[in-house]
Symmetry: C2
Subunit: 261 residues, 2 copies
């Protein structure tokens, strides 16, 4: 006889406008995405509920497709979780886009195969307006081809010490960038980057360095030297958070479609 | 002998995120775009300065290309006005995109040949997130072809009494819609509309009625009957402000390029 499980693990996808929030993770000094989601989950499940994200995002960083898991009473299906979380959410900056059942041992952070980020650089001369908290408003043109040339040397497996925040707690500075593309889009330049995992501030530090190249302050070839130096002081500034979007998190196909619905 | 004029009239183009503002026009009950621009203009010119808009926008309505004129001391050129206004502006929701000299009798409101608006309807099931104050989040699909059919009967010159706010102060309810298009754009439907001038709430009331058609609550043919009724109670609700964008204001070519730079 199979006993019905007391709870069901759910994978949710979450969009948020990070403006004015302290980031994904619960903190004492302000409002976080995790806290709002956990408050909504507690209302829905009537018990304290951990919402475990695929990764942290910094204050002011946005997400189009953050992923997280949580355990809910087994009688709640995907639709009830999606509708319930959204209706209990007390902050309209955050939207739960989907919910799907996963195995009881699924883990949003440890099972992630890839994380995808977008960084938006604003080129138009005048700052402010509708995109003020949505792009890094550089206010001048950038040399696209030079940025593309510089980006090429960062793809693949490297020691990214030069692009790692001092506070980074990862055991190793070695990461593999599966993709790092620089493309033009109207008045913007977009940096899209994918990896299984990233170091703290890695995307923003790479972006700050690519901007040095785009502004003509560095020749494209300097990027390889900065990478090889393994010295954070050699790289460019940390790009500000408001241009960064966590666009998606990938999981093994089996992990997110095998459990009962 | 020609005496140098004491002042130069300038036409400016302005983008703003209307979220949290009381609209274009100065009001006692909150912060307006006009007030911020006039404060910046007074800092720049060191004298009280009227900034006359092409038209009002309601609280929460956005602009990609609002137009306005102001008079500045003659020694200030376009570049000084553009840079000066932006650097004195105390609210980053507002951005002055351009400034150009115009004749001393140019008038941003009365010389406008056409005003262009965009209304964005959000279709995805989940509200909130990055577009929460940027679209009307209907949260369900709309019947595009039916909306297009209904829109067709509103193009051209008509008595728009049915789509006019009770508070509208225009002398006549007759207006000419040069264009009214309904198009699909990813998870949104866009209504684009152009006319020399509009009645108060005309675009939002037309939008609210087109949504009735899109939801299948009205047959497309009902729109012609609503128009003919000349009765505000026959039309749909006033669509909320956050989906509306004033995209551009047109002037005669001669008026905006003839004056000295």
């Amino acid at each position: 006889m199979v006993k019905e499980p007391a709870s069901q693990r759910m994978l949710i996808r979450v969009e948020y406008d990070g403006t004015g929030l302290v980031g994904w993770q619960r903190q004492e000094n302000g409002l976080s995405v995790q806290q709002f989601l956990e408050q909504a989950a507690e209302k829905l499940t009537t018990r304290p509920t951990l919402v475990q994200g695929a990764g942290r995002t910094d204050a002011g960083v946005h997400a189009l497709g953050q992923a997280a898991h949580l355990d809910v009473p087994a009688h709640l299906d995907s639709r009830a979780v999606l509708g319930g979380l959204n209706s209990w959410l007390e902050d309209r900056r955050i939207a739960v886009l989907s919910a799907q059942p996963v195995a009881a041992d699924f883990h949003a952070r440890f099972d992630a195969l890839a994380r995808h980020y977008l960084y938006r650089l604003g080129l138009r001369a005048v700052p402010g307006g509708l995109l003020r908290d949505r792009v890094w408003q550089l206010g001048r043109p950038l040399q696209l081809a030079a940025m593309q040339e510089a980006a090429a040397c960062l793809e693949g497996r490297h020691d990214f010490t030069s692009f790692r925040a001092a506070a980074c707690q990862a055991g190793s500075p070695v990461r593999t960038l599966d993709r790092l593309a620089v493309t033009a889009s109207q008045d913007e330049i977009h940096i899209t980057v994918s990896a299984r995992s990233f170091l703290h501030h890695q995307v923003r530090n790479i972006t700050g360095s690519l901007v040095q190249v785009g502004l003509g302050k560095w020749p494209p070839q300097k990027m390889a030297a900065v990478l090889a130096a393994r010295d954070r002081r050699q790289a460019g500034q940390t790009a500000p958070p408001q241009g960064l979007y966590l666009t998606a998190v990938d999981y093994p196909e089996g992990a997110v479609s095998s459990a009962a619905g």
